[in-house]
Symmetry: C2
Subunit: 247 residues, 2 copies
Amino acid sequence: MANVTQQSRTRRRRKYEVVESALERRIAGLLPHDTLPPERDLMREFEVSRMTIRQAVSRLVARGLVYNVQGSGTFVSPVEVITKTLTLTGFSEDMRQRGLTPSSRVLAVDHVAASPETAARLGYDDPATCPPVVRLRRLRCADGAPMAVETVEVLATVADWSAVDPSGSLYEQLEGQGLQIVRAAQVIAAVNLGVEEAKILDQAVGAAAIRVSRVSYTGRGQAVEVGHTLYRADRYDFDIVVTREPR
Amino acid sequence: MANVTQQSRTRRRRKYEVVESALERRIAGLLPHDTLPPERDLMREFEVSRMTIRQAVSRLVARGLVYNVQGSGTFVSPVEVITKTLTLTGFSEDMRQRGLTPSSRVLAVDHVAASPETAARLGYDDPATCPPVVRLRRLRCADGAPMAVETVEVLATVADWSAVDPSGSLYEQLEGQGLQIVRAAQVIAAVNLGVEEAKILDQAVGAAAIRVSRVSYTGRGQAVEVGHTLYRADRYDFDIVVTREPR
DNA sequence: AAGTGGTCTAGACCACCGC
DNA sequence: CGGTGGTCTAGACCACTTC
């Protein structure tokens, strides 16, 4: 059967993953500012080295579940909401996280040459060297009501498009084909809706809207997707968590 | 002299910091997708253990300067812009990063009891138990022109307010007093400007604006500041980098 | 002084990539 | 197959907090 690089199913569970999820379950039963056992105790309990414990704990710190105080201990974070958003999600995943049901109406789907602007955003200095793109324009709805108008352009060469359903979650389908998008640069701006956009979104002309422009990259830093999404401001806001030091 | 917990000036330079900045300089002279030396070579070069090398490299990966490919090597990332924003910055720092000169006009500064809503956002279930706050409302300008209206409320108990200049960078001054804000939850929304706001920002009534609401936390997860900032949409956008997996 | 997390060493084996 | 990054061990000393 298929071609796609098979990522070994049921691969060995990393020890730090075992410790991490065990601690996560334990944290769920604790109160804010409760103390976790010292790392040296956890070593004995899980029968692993201290570095493995520290890797597990540091992942929990990065996720905001616990915090360290040097010379004192490791403690449960008081804010649980804080792990909300910061991760790259497509519209469908985003809506499901918010407890809404996503749906789509496909407005246009084309297989076209990349415009000079798109080519530039994808990192091609010379537009002629840029492969064609699949251009998809969709009205995205949540619980049946219009939420956003989205335009995405993906390098046609990175996926098997005959297997893609344009009304479903693009990110999830691309991931299923082995395309790993790891990072995206987004620009969030506020705009007043124009006549056409207002009509599509069932809003008044001039109503405020959130415009998110995006360039997505693989782990190797190759840009594979550009897009922009125009959200109804009365139904959508953008939750992020920012940190002072870069991790 | 002062009280503040003095964080040892000129503390010992960590070995991984030395390696990190040395590699950073080297990367600056390389091209995208160029190969970094293998970790075992770097061990010998810097005369440190492999774990120290890996810690330095992993920080560069987290910052987006390089990427790893298992079984192959470590390579220079093609996108340099990508380390732009994601870190928590105050207005002054933000503007300087964008190459603009920040200034302020103080509209109001009060020492008041926390409103029930503010107390709730700071994590106090019972407003009566919440300490008073210092409330500061400012017009923020960039290169002399209005950019944003900002309201911040900080727990009065966490700083020595007699030493704070309300027209300067609040975050930097609080940090100078030893108050470490590590993380903030932000909600970004688009709004249409009302009459009063429009006048202050020198915009038309109904013009789109970006509204950022924020709750800031220390490393221990204690909320110490709430605030919201209203930016002119024609002069400001919000650049962030999101990752697929939380670090 | 004792206990904690932070840094660091010098090894080892594994999983994966490219030849 | 050799070389690479990914994981893991069993220690050590340091910096800091708490008593």
